[in-house]
Symmetry: C2
Subunit: 189 residues, 2 copies
């Protein structure tokens, strides 16, 4: 028997993404979001959502550009901090002792220490309510060589991304391999 | 040194969500997507993306309703099957031997065996390219009592949702607790 929990933002899994932008003075900023994901294959697009009150909101619209920086579990403290502090009154990179690197493709900074980053140009945004959804076209995905598998693709067990539990407010790691996609279900046909 | 992998839909983590809909003949259908997430807190909204060619595309628009069914890892085979087969020529619930239950809030079926389901009414959709993004307002979240923690919220370690790796085409489980959100980063202030 299922129990009703009411209308709320409660779903698994949600990612931990650090959105990199520059402000009006070209100070690099970074903010953690869990409302986000991939939303189109051609062109490759990702989306994330922001409240208007955030500093990142105006930064994204100013430059029509952002990066999605994916922290590994060892940077959980820094990622959490990026979701607590505001770029309005804090140089988050400095406090966290992480290195902003200017993307060569868009006017947005990348977190050098994180293993995986997507460079995106803003293509669409729409106000849904408290949050506005932003969609960016992925111009490039860059990864540390150390997290790539033999086929040159990032291995999730090496990237060690975080998973966020809404409402419960926990970060979890990614666990073990459960199955191969587009394969394991074939036995049911 | 980071390696460029080009513009592609490669980001961690992405969820494994089974979208439930009814077709024109009220046959229950369910399709697995990894392009999706939470996108607004007030009202609570989730988004997912579909190609126009999918059967679910027309079903969602027909009834302006869908459910997000979150499979636990033990249903990896069924979830994968829901992403391989098409509702055009398959009764996926029957083949997978899972039970469709009509939502009392929206005209869409829920997968009874999955531990967590969101009942949603469509509020917005927008064609981005190959994929169209759909946004639904969450009218209710329903969970099996067995996956709830002492506070009455779903425990991700009990729900055991899957994580999908795009391009690498793997399903992983959720691992161990890494830290408490909005807490572990405070030490950096």
């Amino acid at each position: 028997m299922k129990k009703s929990l009411g209308p709320r933002t409660l779903a698994f899994t949600t990612p931990v993404w650090c959105i990199g932008t520059y402000d009006a003075n070209d100070k690099p900023n970074v903010m953690t979001v869990a409302w986000g994901g991939i939303c189109c294959s051609v062109p490759p697009c990702v989306n994330f959502s922001l409240r208007k009150a955030t500093y990142t909101y105006e930064c994204v619209l100013r430059h029509n550009a952002f990066t999605v920086n994916i922290p590994s579990a060892r940077y959980v403290k820094e990622a959490d901090f990026f979701g607590i502090a505001s770029g309005k009154n804090t140089d988050k990179f400095k406090v966290a002792r992480l290195t902003p690197v200017l993307s060569t493709l868009v006017h947005a900074p990348m977190v050098d220490e994180f293993p995986m980053v997507l460079e995106c140009k803003l293509v669409f945004h729409h106000e849904l309510g408290l949050h506005t959804i932003f969609v960016g076209e992925v111009l490039d995905v860059k990864c540390d060589e150390s997290v790539l598998n033999k086929s040159g693709l990032p291995d999730i067990e090496k990237v060690q991304p975080l998973v966020f539990s809404p409402d419960v407010r926990c970060y979890h790691s990614v666990g073990s391999l459960v199955g191969r996609a587009f394969e394991i279900g074939r036995t049911l046909r």
